[in-house]
């Protein structure tokens, strides 16, 4: 690609690329995100390419392999535009028909359409599907349209226009002012005002200044940063460019989690393109502004997502956090003024500059502006990534967009905020989701994980799960976090085994208070949340374990048994064959029984039984 030597050259290029893609042109988009890759989207794309060739449609139809569309549950996803016909779970064998009928003749193939799990009806258009209909996609919209490896695709949608606008019509101070007035708060966990952070770094003394993108995404259950970086890397680069211009930085880093090789690959490719186009390097778009970005791969430690630990890791050291009274905006990476923001935060920046602070702030609540991408996962019908305005209720997300709980099960809780967050019960489903309300309810916004739990989930087990995770990931530098977590872990393990005592609950509460008050960083400081929030809303489950030696969710191994419901078993033998220790007896077409003494509680029978006859209690 030729160098864009001026803002005029960028504009000219945007127009030229857009003109080469006339409105109404047939496009078939295949999702190439991680979820769809796992279900075989590569083969589907290959088959489409081949079939389009042999049908002689290559000139008329554009095939694009995009980033994640968000609706991973339904992968591989194929969308035909401009009709926006949506085909979920497409297989290679469906491809010839899609080409012959939908792409060649514009027909809709009834049998391939999406069936709404709530109403049972077939839905043709992507935008009519409840999962998409309830969303407001500002940051995530482009993902389903552009190829992550094409700079032109990004330019065709107005890409780098916000950068040009910032460089030519805004002073750095005006950019900061715009971002501050937009009310953008960090999407990585803390929710700190992005504009204020930038202003402090701008006025801080010291050269050079650094700008960092936190793509460590350690929160288990969240994957929006991955999808943004994989699917639309240029939006993150553009955000960082604008931020660097605002704070006066020439050096950027992206710290990416090592589990995300595709994100690294797509980002590296995008950086090369941006350099070749003169969007990174010296004299960007013919101005005096210069900036470049280096990728650094993380080492797979949760604590390295924390700002000071991340900087230590970037310096090649052990990723241990340090006390926060030394601010990183003044003394950050290599002891220089540093701005660290999350991937999604950066991706919000171009939208703010392009559309203005007022438009951005028109969405959301008084304390939280704009949209937030949540990863809606767990025991829910429509799993995937959803972008919604701040202030939407949990109910709208879980039951509207998410389509409720599968298998006719009852909702129990939704966990937000990752390992530092909490579990919210059914009585709080009408809570508007924003930074303040979630914190008041004992949870957190965090990075946007929303893990839905049904009646078959044990809340004590969930608390133990998080404490276990944090105990493993604690760096061990400060005592309250290191020892407090181990003590909590032992108590929770005991309760899960049915060996708990009543006074364990007050000990947990006390340990939680100590960790919160005395830990060095936010890992320990918020580590008690999963315990405190489950104690607050689900104390009865703790008591059931302690006093009745019963696990109401049917999860804790020591407290449950597997048995077969005589009324439902049809003697199909599937469980007998699946049972590893041969603990199930019974002839074909005769009732089966499980020998409790031999049963290893592996769950194999439960997952093969089509009659729902295996009972776990």
């Amino acid at each position: 690609m030729t160098r864009l030597a001026s803002v005029a050259a960028l504009k000219e290029r945007q127009v030229r690329v857009a003109a080469s893609r006339p409105v109404g042109q047939q496009v078939v988009a295949v999702c190439g995100g991680t979820g769809c890759l796992a279900t075989g989207c590569k083969d589907v794309a290959k088959a489409l390419e081949k079939e389009l060739g042999s049908a002689g449609l290559k000139d008329r139809v554009t095939l694009v392999v995009t980033g994640c569309h968000g609706f991973c549950e339904q992968g591989p996803i194929v969308v035909v535009r401009p009709q926006s016909t949506f085909y979920p779970r497409v297989q290679v064998k469906d491809v010839p028909e899609i080409v012959a009928r939908t792409l060649a003749k514009g027909e809709v193939i009834e049998r391939l359409l999406y069936v709404d799990p709530v109403s049972g009806t077939k839905i043709e258009r992507e935008s009519d599907i409840p999962f998409y209909k309830g969303q407001t996609r500002i940051i995530f919209e482009s993902n389903g349209h552009l190829s992550p490896t094409s700079l032109d695709d990004y330019l065709a949608r107005g890409g780098y226009g916000a950068l040009a606008k910032a460089l030519t019509t805004h002073t750095p101070e005006q950019v900061i002012d715009e971002v501050t007035r937009a009310g953008l708060r960090g999407r990585g966990g803390g929710g700190f005002s992005t504009g204020r952070k930038w202003a402090s770094a701008r006025s801080a003394k010291g050269e050079p200044k650094y700008v960092i993108c936190n793509a460590d995404e350690g929160d288990p259950g969240a994957f929006m940063d991955r999808s943004l970086l994989e699917g639309n890397p240029h939006s993150v680069i553009e955000g960082m460019l604008i931020g660097a211009y605002a704070v006066g930085s020439r050096h950027g880093y992206v710290y990416v989690r090592h589990e995300y090789p595709l994100a690294v690959e797509n980002l590296r490719h995008a950086l090369e393109q941006a350099r070749a186009a003169g969007l990174l390097g010296e004299g960007i778009l013919g101005t005096t502004f210069g900036f470049d970005i280096v990728i650094s791969r993380g080492g797979g430690a949760f604590v390295c997502g924390e700002s000071t630990a991340l900087m230590a890791s970037l310096e090649g050291k052990v990723g241990e956090p340090r006390a926060k009274y030394v601010h990183t905006v003044e003394h950050g990476l290599f002891d220089k003024p540093t701005v660290l923001n999350n991937v999604e935060t950066w991706a919000n920046v171009p939208a703010i500059i392009a559309n203005g602070a007022a438009a951005y702030a028109s969405l959301g609540t008084d304390n939280s502006k704009g949209t937030k991408i949540f990863s809606l996962v767990g025991k829910i019908n429509n799993t995937g990534l959803v972008e919604v305005p701040m202030g939407i209720t949990l109910r709208e997300v879980v039951f509207g967009i998410g389509g409720g709980i599968p298998g006719g099960k009852k909702f129990k809780a939704v966990q937000t905020g990752g390992p530092s967050g909490g579990c919210l019960p059914e009585s709080l489903l009408d809570l508007p989701v924003d930074f303040q309300r979630l914190t008041e309810a004992g949870s957190m916004m965090g990075s946007g994980g929303m893990i839905v739990m049904d009646e078959d989930t044990c809340m004590v087990d969930v608390a133990r799960y998080f404490i276990d995770f944090l105990a493993r990931e604690s760096c061990g530098k400060c005592t309250p976090c290191r020892e407090g977590l181990l003590a909590c872990r032992d108590i929770l393990a005991r309760i899960c085994e049915g060996k708990g005592k009543d006074e364990d609950l007050s000990t947990l509460d006390e340990l939680g208070q100590w960790m919160t008050a005395a830990s060095l960083c936010a890992l320990g400081g918020s580590a008690a949340n999963p315990v405190l929030s489950t104690l607050r809303y689900f104390k009865h489950e703790y008591l059931a374990h302690i006093r009745e030696h019963r696990c109401p969710g049917g999860v804790c191994k020591e407290l449950i048994t597997y048995s077969i419901d005589t009324g439902k078993c049809n003697g199909c033998h599937a469980c007998v064959k699946a049972c590893p220790p041969d603990a199930i007896s019974g002839a074909l077409k005769a009732m089966h029984t499980i020998d409790a003494a031999a049963c290893i509680k592996c769950g194999a029978c439960l997952s093969v039984c089509k009659q729902d006859a295996v009972v776990r209690r």
Partner: protein, 153 residues
């Protein structure tokens, strides 16, 4: 090989994590001799290299098996009973978490979220994701390369 990697980096201490990452990727693990060589290259104590190498989860001081099976225990997978999937893998291969089969064919490791949460439970085999995992599906997947069930020493 190690020399090739070292020649790509300056003797600056900040390169340590990147060097270790390349060695891990290209040589499969961090051998004792590699750590010593890296320490010499960067003029730092071996103990320092060791502390960094043992801090991060990606690094392994032991050679891994030919195949790497990683079972996700992230929150989304956990609530869909991922622990039963891990138990199955460990039982079938006769190893403990992080262990390698005696024939050095397979290493099994639990991990916290591989970023494909919507299709959980997820198992990653040699960087390929397998979603919607069940106990019988896991057994079938492993049968492909089970040869020796004894625990590695």
């Amino acid at each position: 090989m190690l020399q090739d990697i070292l020649s790509r980096y300056s003797r600056n201490r900040t390169c340590l994590v990147m060097i270790l990452q390349d060695v891990q990727t290209e040589l499969g693990y961090l051998a004792e001799e590699s750590l010593a060589e890296i320490a010499r290259h960067l003029s730092m104590p071996v103990a320092h290299v060791h502390s960094v190498a043992t801090f991060y989860n990606v690094f392994s001081l032991e050679p891994r098996g030919e195949h790497l099976v990683r079972v996700c225990l992230g929150t989304a997978c956990h609530v869909r009973q991922a622990s039963l999937i891990l138990d199955t893998a460990l039982r079938e291969l006769g190893v403990s978490d992080g262990g390698t089969t005696k024939d050095r064919k397979v290493t099994v490791q639990s991990v916290g979220c591989v970023g494909a949460c919507a299709i959980g439970p997820v198992v990653e085999v040699d960087e390929v994701h397998h979603g919607h995992m069940t106990v019988p599906k896991m057994s079938r997947l492993l049968r492909g390369f089970v040869a020796n069930k004894e625990v590695a020493t």
